[in-house]
Amino acid sequence: MEYEFTLSFKLAASEADTDTLIERLGAAGCDDALVGIGQSGRIALNFTREASSAQDAIVSALRDVRKAIPDARLVEAGPDLVGLTDIAELVGVTRQNMRKLSLAYPESFPVPVHSGSVALWHLSHVLRWLSDRGRYEIESPIMEVARVTMQINLVKEAALIEQRVRREVRDLVA
């Protein structure tokens, strides 16, 4: 199966010039990714990787990048955190349509992770909701990818947890 996902990284300040990094990514097997270097100090790889599962695809991609640029730090695995426009594009409906759905089913539509001037959802939750309602045909590779990218971002964020706070609040926020 082919899995499409994007990994974006922050580069160490001491890192070699981008031409060298790109050559190393090529040598490390990232030739199935589009490499974006439009933001200085960052590098983004949009993969379409053949693998037996989304997890294999994404984990092997993380390994390849680690091998090529050991000091690069993952910023985000995507698609995971998405707004309504992103969801609409991924599912292939209009934004208005997506917005209508989110308002029409306030009881069951997934709660956003953040709502402020923009609202953000975990894509995985929205895809599962759409698929459970049976009205939308969601392809299984993207469902799998969204589940794994969310897990990877959660693992990355978990490094920020302070154990003292965790012990005190984990039952209160469960």
Binding site: E2, S8, D19, I22, E23, L25, G26, A27, D31, D32, L34, V35, G36, I37, G38, Q39, R42, I43, A44, N46, T48
Partner: protein, 93 residues
């Protein structure tokens, strides 16, 4: 002088599509064949990371890769803004 052609014809076609939309191409590299630069990559740009995109000499799947390159051009926010201001994207296709 004309630039070198990409050895894979579907990728060469995607590069020409980018050029037709104002993107600049710089040739050079080994695993990399060259680099694409968006003409609108400025402070206002919100797409960011793929405004400068590297092009492999021998991507694993040239068909997939050519589609990705075209999508970067199509997703450019400045291009979409421009297309809307002239009443539709049709004349930019």
């Amino acid at each position: 002088m004309a630039r070198a052609r990409h050895p894979k014809k579907e990728i060469e076609a995607a590069i020409r599509y980018a050029e037709a939309n104002g993107w600049r191409v710089a040739v050079g590299g080994s695993h990399a064949w060259g680099t694409l630069y968006c003409p609108y990559n400025d402070a206002e740009c919100r797409c960011g990371e793929f405004c400068i995109t590297s092009i492999w000499s021998t991507p694993r799947n040239p068909g997939n890769y050519a589609r990705k390159l075209r999508r970067v051009v199509d997703n450019c926010a400045a291009r979409k803004r421009l297309a809307n201001s002239v009443g539709g994207a049709s004349d930019l296709e």
